[in-house]
């Protein structure tokens, strides 16, 4: 039952990810991206990363996508003009690069089965307890630096978005 659920969520995630790229309308892309984040959250749950599943929905589907939708509304983009054309050379080269990337990494990673053997059956690191303990002891400095990063981003955004007075 649970493996079936994983493959179901994986199919939805891949399908919505490809539709995000193919969709002409930016609003549809945003909605499909939210669906992709929800299926990824389900996969996190199945991988026993409970806290991260909740964070995925709160931060990505909640905060980040609302920001995206606000900007799409603000810019009034709507339907993209059909004259968004790439040169055939550019298009072929891009497709070639994507396929080479996909096949290359899959060959490197998935053919070498000596690295991936039996995994641990028990897992006790998915909850808030373990994550919080690691975050505030071993990874305290990166945690503080992340807060500084958020402050810098806040100041930068306010400066960039404000209307110039001159």
């Amino acid at each position: 039952m649970l493996p079936f659920l994983f493959y179901f969520a994986a199919a939805i995630a891949v399908g919505t990810a490809i539709s995000v790229v193919l969709s002409r309308n930016a609003v549809y892309s945003a909605i499909l991206l939210v669906a992709c984040f929800f299926s990824l959250a389900l996969i996190y749950l199945l991988l026993e990363a409970y806290f991260l599943a909740v964070l995925e929905i709160f931060i990505y589907a909640g905060a980040i996508m609302v920001l995206f939708l606000f900007v799409i509304m603000l810019l009034n983009l709507g339907q993209e003009k059909a004259q968004e054309h790439l040169k055939y050379l550019q298009r072929g080269l891009s497709l070639f690069l994507v396929i080479v990337f996909f096949l290359g990494i899959s060959l490197i990673f998935l053919s070498d089965s000596t690295v991936l053997h039996q995994s641990h059956e028990t897992f006790d690191a998915g909850g808030v307890n373990a994550l919080g303990e690691a975050l505030f002891t071993k990874y305290l400095l990166p945690f503080e630096v992340a807060s500084l990063l958020l402050l810098v981003a806040l100041i930068g955004t306010v400066y960039l978005a404000k209307r110039k007075i001159s």
Binding site: V21, I43, L116
Partner: protein, 101 residues
């Protein structure tokens, strides 16, 4: 683990490739930005899979930090897109060539 680690990595790889394709094919700056989010999520998925596989919490801490970074990056990036749109009335990256030459 309910599924082999290879399957998690394959899923992560597929989503990352979709993001790469989005960056290479699309000309709309906002869609390109969403593709970057897709790539970040693919990396997060791989980290969660490895964290489960090695029974260690370290990977999940990195996912936490990547999420923080994604939030900061989206805020700044969208502010830049809004500023560019205000000046050029377009978000097509082919027409934004102020710094060319």
């Amino acid at each position: 683990m309910i599924v082999p680690l290879e399957h998690v990595i394959a899923l992560s790889l597929a989503i990352f490739s979709a993001g790469v394709a989005g960056v290479l094919f699309r000309r709309n700056a906002i869609t390109i930005f969403m593709s970057i989010e897709l790539m970040l999520n693919a990396v997060n998925l791989a980290l969660v899979g490895f964290s489960r596989y090695y029974n260690s919490v370290d990977g999940q801490v990195f996912v936490f930090l990547v999420m923080t970074l994604a939030a900061a990056e989206v805020a700044v990036g969208l502010a830049i897109i809004v500023a560019v749109y205000r000046n050029r009335q377009t978000v097509n990256i082919d027409e934004i060539n102020l710094m060319k030459n």
